[in-house]
Symmetry: C2
């Protein structure tokens, strides 16, 4: 497989991250917004990725794009780099949680296979990154975890925080301050259009309100098992 540039890597990863289910098409505009480039630039790049041999994406004009199997492989590879790097930066180099993402976002494109393997070994073949995201295996993808966005979770039902978003440092600092980190159990008391109120919990005296901006950073799962 031909080597991919940083820009290509970023497009593939963005398509992966925007396509919730594997078959869902991602629109050009969504990609443009996520990558901070113009729609015309996206169209150009998608055509290039689809024209490559083997193609990295399956591109349907006006309908959207999804990863080909080669594209999926490369995208997961980059995600593995990213999450291993984040854990390394946090656990070994003692980076604050809200600073790991930016550095990993840069370095993920440049580390070698050997670096990836040695870091994984140093960390003891970890399964979860410091935000609670699953670290994919070296070859092949990984099953989607059973987590759902907190915004979709029913009120009254206890839930465990599985992961938090890694892209917004300010939100991350706030979540840490509130102790809303992976592993913590919460209960939604009320859901409004713009916020969610969480019930009082052990170690916290009053119910409190979480803005959607923070709610959207959190993914949860049932407390059972």
């Amino acid at each position: 497989m031909a080597a991919t540039s940083q820009a290509v890597d970023d497009y593939l990863k963005a398509i992966l991250e925007l396509s919730g289910s594997a078959t869902e098409l991602v629109s050009s505009n969504a990609l443009a917004a996520r990558l901070g480039v113009r729609a015309a630039s996206v169209t150009g790049m998608l055509q290039k990725l689809a024209a490559q041999r083997p193609p990295l994406v399956v591109y349907q004009k006006h309908r959207g794009v999804r990863l080909s199997s080669a594209g999926k492989q490369r995208a997961w590879e980059i995600v593995r780099h990213h999450r291993l790097l984040e854990l390394f930066l946090h656990n070994i180099l003692k980076y604050p949680l809200d600073e790991v993402h930016e550095e990993a976002e840069r370095l993920e494109h440049f580390i070698s296979e050997r670096f990836e393997d040695r870091v994984a070994a140093l960390l003891g073949d970890p399964k979860i990154d410091p935000h609670g995201h699953v670290i994919p295996h070296k070859h092949g993808t990984h099953a989607f975890p059973d987590e759902v966005p907190l915004a979709d979770w029913p009120a009254g039902e206890p839930a465990v925080i599985r992961s938090v978003g890694d892209r917004d440092p300010a939100a991350l600092r706030e979540l840490q301050r509130l102790d809303l980190v992976p592993g913590v159990t919460i209960v939604v008391k009320v859901r409004n259009p713009n916020a969610v109120t969480l019930s009082a919990l052990p170690g916290r005296n009053t119910p409190f309100r979480l803005s959607n901006e923070l709610v959207n950073q959190i993914a949860v799962a049932a407390t059972s098992r």
Copy 2:
């Protein structure tokens, strides 16, 4: 100071490494050979570097180029990244000695100041990289060590290996096999145009011949002190 591209970094580092003494001019052809590009490309880049504000090099047409103080600062910065990374790869990630250079050569351009600082802390503010090269301080340059090329060392006088070249993996493996690594004491018995013969040494039964290719990888200093 404006951010420098990878290509600019590589030019600055090459100028630094090719100018033995601080004031020595480096020729365009020497740079072209070291960087694996054409002389015409070098001329173009040198003009760009000299035109920058502040200038990164002092360029005298037909005579050569040397680093300005801004250029020197950036070049030493990259060298610090490189040598810290090499030591990190060797000591923490357990890379073989002959594989650290290539990875460091790539990553040196992309790590942040924070990464540099945290790696230095993890390694205990090291002074010497795994090839025996001095790791410059974070701000400002460093004094040149007292080492000289083995090719310039007088026969009969014992010498300690101070450093070995990091750019040729095959040569490095051979030097390790021969136990010619930093810290080891040697004596030159005979010098030929194409080789040097070392005297028998503790742990070695016969004198042996070292090709210039290997001799040129080694820098030594007096055994005293």
